[in-house]
């Protein structure tokens, strides 16, 4: 058990509570109120700032490793100071403002970018009793923030008065509308299972039942990860800033540090959603009793970075999808699967309660049933929708064979083209 002594750093709530208790004894209570707010804000600001400087380097190095190149390796040991150098460079660059742009929104959008990120960080349980505000509508709060998030990007794209920017902005809206729904439905399964919308309670449920919910809810876990990946708008779902189609989408007219803020906010969002995946599906600060020895906030941060790693991995590995492919995948595939699974989870929870089974029997049974059901559902829906897993081409073809000579437009009587040896 974690003691409540202030020097017990296994949860940082202890020193903070010690300080606040000391303040409450000696000062009027609004002092402690304001100080607690300042501590929370400072902690989040510090965490976000340090994380973003480090993560830019991590991301570039990891993607470089995946793509068999070196990545930044000159500034500082192993190139770790590269983000600092980049930030200094971006601040010195000229910050261009298009003449026709909507000046207010153009300047306001980069300033508002971080508000959703910081708000979600405020409800994340970083450790046992370690969230700035553990709202009892936490899950809904996160969904609400996620639904407002694209408005900032939209105003950035629209205010540039550039057709590519506006197209990118509209794509952001379309993407978020499509992928918010599967994310919400996946979280519905989590809420039904754990019986709470409070993030701290969701982690506590997993700790009490000694099981991470990624195994109990394999399909919602996958659906949520994919939806969040699309919502953050990172590659392979970065149709909003697809270089080959839209210039840089909503970023086209931004330069200098304003562009840097967009880049940093994208990273921050990826980190925060990694933390949400860790909270909902990987047990948050809980790790099979190890949280009694290792500080729980370290465990959570490792899991958070593991979630972030998933995004970096996807970015380094997968090619960009087309916008219609992405939207179809959400509406035709993720949403039906999520809805069916939510019904399954609800049924299982009712059966569990009615039978009064102990969790030592119910949890393993549920893991087996749900993993099998998930595989069956995915395979079944793929069969129904008619996606065949065909490997094309089955052999290596020479580039000279493919598409050089259009056979159907060849004039009649012309000689058969000779295949290259």
């Amino acid at each position: 058990m974690i003691l409540a002594n202030w020097w017990d750093l296994r949860t940082l709530a202890n020193p903070v509570n010690g300080l606040l208790g000391w303040l409450e004894e000696r000062f009027p209570d609004w002092v402690a109120y304001i100080v607690s707010g300042l501590i929370g804000a400072a902690a989040i600001g510090l965490f976000l700032g340090v994380a973003m400087l480090l993560l830019i380097w991590v991301e570039r190095r990891v993607v470089a490793r995946i793509q068999i190149r070196q990545g930044p390796n000159r500034v500082g040991p192993g190139g770790i100071l590269q983000p600092v150098a980049d930030a200094l460079k971006l601040m010195q660059k000229e910050s261009l403002t298009p003449r026709e742009c909507d000046r207010w929104l153009f300047w306001l959008a980069p300033a508002l970018l971080f508000i959703p990120t910081v708000l979600i960080l405020g409800v994340l349980p970083f450790g046992e009793r370690m969230s700035v505000a553990d709202l009892n509508v936490g899950v809904l709060f996160i969904i609400a923030i996620g639904s407002v998030m694209p408005l900032v990007v939209f105003s950035a794209g629209w205010s540039s008065s550039n057709k590519y920017s506006t197209l990118g902005a509209m794509r952001v809206m379309a993407l978020v509308i499509s992928y918010e729904l599967p994310a919400v439905i996946a979280l519905l399964s989590v809420v039904i299972l754990t019986g709470s919308m409070q993030l701290g309670q969701i982690v506590q449920w997993q700790a009490d039942h000694w099981m991470i919910s990624a195994l109990l809810l394999p399909l919602p876990f996958i659906i949520y990860t994919i939806s969040v990946l699309a919502e953050v708008g990172r590659s392979p779902a970065d149709v909003t800033e697809a270089e080959s189609e839209l210039g840089a989408g909503y970023l086209t007219e931004y330069s200098g540090m304003k562009w840097g803020l967009f880049y940093a906010a994208e990273l921050g969002n990826a980190l925060v959603f990694g933390g949400l995946i860790a909270t909902f599906f990987w047990g948050g600060w809980w790790l099979f009793g190890a949280e009694n020895v290792i500080p729980s906030w370290l465990i959570f941060m490792v899991k958070m970075l593991a979630g972030y790693w998933l995004f970096v991995w996807a970015r380094g590995t997968l090619p960009r999808l087309r916008i219609d492919q992405l939207l179809q995948f959400s509406w035709k595939f993720l949403i039906p699967l999520g809805l069916i699974f939510a019904v399954i989870v609800a049924t299982e929870v009712v059966i569990w309660e009615e039978a009064g089974a102990s969790s030592w029997i119910a949890i393993p049974a549920m893991v087996v049933v749900n993993v099998l059901l998930s595989v069956a559902l995915v395979v079944g829906l793929v069969r129904i929708l008619g996606f065949e897993s065909v490997q094309q081409p089955r052999r290596a073809h020479l580039t000279t064979d493919i598409g050089i000579v259009n056979r159907t437009t060849r004039p009649p009587g012309a000689a058969e083209p000779v295949a290259a040896p």
């Binding site: 207010w104 929104l105 609400a144 639904s147 094309q392 073809h397 493919i402 056979r407 159907t408 083209p417």
Partner: protein, 202 residues
């Protein structure tokens, strides 16, 4: 402490909501009006928070700022003359008069009504109560509302559906003429528009 904080929050958020609402009227740019409308929604969500109605506050952000705001944005972006100056309309005078009358009427009602102040304190949690009410006592109206929404959705799909899907696959290229190699790509649809492959000799 909490009284002072709630008072500051109430007046600040109230000023923000009313100011944003006035901005909607004053601004000449349609898109600015939409964004100010969303700001006003968010300020009203904050007002719900000062009433300790956390679920309603979050639902306000989710439904009004998120869903309705995005819907209005789409509507504005799809309006052909959305770039015009918002004040150029013949309805300015009548609209101004009617709006002023409505505002005056509401102000009179608000000041004349003998508001009763609840003697209980704030709610500790509202999610459980709302969930219980929706799924137990008011289950039937809740389900009826969902049926109504589904009917509306089906109606919308029927309205926007085109008469018959146009199949112009055959006009493109004679599918049968494309020589396929023996790799099992018997389905011509995928290749109908792609460049034909060679390689029978392998």
């Amino acid at each position: 402490m909490s009284d002072a904080g709630v008072a500051i929050g109430f007046w600040g958020l109230g000023a923000l909501a009313v100011g944003a609402a006035l901005g909607i009227l004053v601004t000449q740019n349609l898109l600015h009006a939409v964004l100010l409308l969303i700001l006003s929604f968010i300020a009203i969500a904050g007002l719900f928070l000062t009433l300790t109605a956390d679920f309603v506050a979050v639902a306000q952000v989710l439904i009004y700022a998120g869903a309705v705001g995005v819907l209005v944005l789409f509507t504005v972006m799809l309006t052909p003359s959305s770039a015009r100056v918002n004040a150029d309309t013949v309805f300015f005078g009548p609209g101004f008069i009617i709006g002023g009358l409505i505002a005056a009427g509401m102000a009179v009602v608000a000041f004349k009504t003998p508001w009763s102040i609840a003697d209980r304190g704030g709610f500790t949690t509202t999610v459980g109560l709302i969930g219980d009410a929706l799924t137990n006592r008011w289950a039937l109206p809740f389900e009826l509302a969902s049926i109504l929404l589904i009917a509306a959705m089906v109606g919308a799909i029927v309205l926007v559906r085109s008469a018959a899907p146009v199949d112009n696959l055959e006009a493109d290229q004679p599918v049968a003429d494309i020589p396929f190699d023996q790799t099992g790509e018997a389905d011509g649809r995928a290749l109908a528009t792609a460049a034909p492959r060679g390689g029978e000799g392998h």
